[in-house]
Symmetry: C2
């Protein structure tokens, strides 16, 4: 990860930072951004020079492919500050790899490590003051790529813009949430783009999620599109189920995002002596376990939310309330605490997941 980025980057800084007017105590996730952004164009079959510049509007032809054909991908990552004011990334190699997998699936150019990792290190280095220390605090990192070529022709663009935005973050959800298990709508199909962090995967969920919210739920847990019998993911989170003292989560597939928090939790939980089984989880076994009292916990796992506890779910008009466990009995809370302590450099990192900027 040692890259000489400075030879291929132009930097223009703001005259005056807006950090003094930023309220770090009342942070709405993803709503406000730091002073600078990184941009890099792709044209003539090559990535051009990176540019760090004041956060500012993007100007595109109204026929740009991204507006018409949704050729766009992104990543979600976080940076953390330790007690020595050092700034750390969490498993950036995983996001870099996944970004390029998404790029291939969406017929977009892969990007090199110098630009993705090097570029974001250079940007965060400039914005160190925006990273706050303390468990749960972080700087959310949003790398994304959009198709910029003009022309309302349904074919891949030849021009792209890679961009990184930074947004101070606490945690994504507050409190436990209620979810609905999808019976009709679906998020992804075999042979589709569900495993890619593609823009179109998210807007497709907005309407079914809105219906769930109108019915009193916060999120939808998607089931497989072919049979609606297997539990998949929650759209912005992978999902874990605890039956008795075993954690179950679905294997990644063409339909399910290979979440970095998911894979970290699996590894962490195993190393902590928890029983973890990665295998298809059936709706039927979860409703049965809920009915007989062996279903103890459900939680979502994602970069934005880290871990989000689920208090109950509905399926076929029936609501299943999960038991109220004492905090010290919750696998979710224990794992969230242990993972965020590693991320925030408040605990040892035996996995070597954290990378210093």
């Amino acid at each position: 990860m040692e890259v000489d980025v400075m030879s291929n980057i132009s930097i223009t800084t703001v005259d005056k930072s807006k950090i003094d007017s930023f309220d770090f105590e009342n942070v709405k996730f993803g709503a406000k951004f730091t002073d600078h952004m990184l941009v890099c164009e792709y044209k003539n079959n090559a990535w051009q020079q990176m540019e760090i510049k004041p956060y500012s509007a993007i100007e595109l032809d109204p026929s740009a492919r991204v507006f018409h054909y949704g050729q766009a991908i992104f990543e979600g990552m976080k940076a953390y500050k330790d007690d020595n004011d050092d700034v750390w990334l969490f498993r950036p190699d995983q996001n870099f790899e996944r970004f390029n997998k998404s790029a291939v699936r969406l017929a977009m150019p892969e990007i090199d490590e110098e630009r993705f990792i090097g570029g974001l290190k250079a940007l965060i280095d400039l914005e160190r003051a925006w990273v706050r220390k303390g468990q749960g605090n972080s700087l959310y990192i949003r790398p994304f790529m959009i198709a910029t070529e003009s022309g309302v022709i349904a074919s891949p663009s030849n021009e792209f813009l890679f961009c990184i935005l930074l947004s101070p973050a606490k945690s994504y959800y507050s409190g436990k949430i209620k979810v609905q298990i999808a019976e009709h709508f679906s998020r992804a199909a075999n042979g589709g783009i569900g495993a890619a962090k593609a823009a179109g995967n998210y807007s497709a969920q907005f309407y079914p999620t809105k219906l769930a919210q109108e019915a009193g739920f916060n999120q939808v847990i998607w089931t497989d599109s072919a049979t609606h019998t297997k539990l998949e993911e929650a759209g912005t989170m992978n999902v874990f189920f605890r039956i008795k003292d075993t954690l179950y989560t679905a294997p990644t597939s063409e339909r399910i995002l290979d979440g970095v928090t998911r894979k970290s939790l699996i590894e962490l939980a195993k190393s902590e002596g928890y029983q973890v089984e990665v295998r298809p989880v059936l709706v039927e076994e979860i409703t049965k376990a809920a009915a007989d009292g062996t279903l103890k916990e459900i939680f979502g796992a994602g970069t934005a939310a880290v871990i989000n506890q689920i208090e109950g779910f509905s399926y076929k008009e029936q609501y299943y309330q999960l038991p109220e466990l004492k905090d010290e009995e919750c696998f979710a809370l224990d794992l969230k605490n242990k993972l965020t302590r590693i991320q925030n450099k408040l605990a040892n990192d035996p996995f070597e997941w954290t990378v210093k900027i």
Copy 2:
């Protein structure tokens, strides 16, 4: 469709039209646009005043929802000029209805007829000189809507931009094309957004289409994601199959776009005495019909392409060449000729599909 648009529209025209430098003989589909565009913002829960202004860039915050979550829909329509220099639309009510269905599925606001139909009539009225007469000539119309609210939060935008672009057109493809029947990749699933003209549906097809093109084919005919046994659509076109003297096409569904050209062709073909059956079409019956010589024609149908003849297809490593019919034996050519003559006002329109501007 009588709407008083002028009271709710501001118009700014270009100083000098670029029409004199436009080469109407060598038109690349969707690549160049007329002098003006229509824009209308949605904010504070309401559509704002429409604006016709010189074609110009769109400026958006880099965190605008359309870049990250693909919340974007569009329509494709055409305007035609008759020998009296009158300009006509083809079934605009169908596109207006479908646009709003797409909007609902993508959690976007529906738009009123005054803005969609009235707005495009006002814009085309200003751009009459860009509509050329003659069979096959048209002005391609691209209404679209994008989510403009800033914030990298995976939830529906509260602000949108509706926009109409115009692009002089001949036809989308030239010559017959070869297609590949999808065996692994899929375009849409039950419970998904396949029936919506959503941006994300198109970029999802780019990679599989690229693979098909590298293998020597022009397009992919998608099969149902669950079993890959039923023929669905070709991504930018619905598909018709002629076995002996009967035309078959798949019914519309959650997975298949309700194409205006498709439904017009079904009606036209029936009125011309052709046998048409709308029912699921199995891959197996098409390969069998190809093998025993009863498969006479396959063609795609869409606004951009009108009708596109398919000369052969591949499935499971085998290539099936369709017979070379004489022009006068081709249902595709006959129907294309009859439909474009209605569209271009060179024939009577017993269906009352055409609407004068």
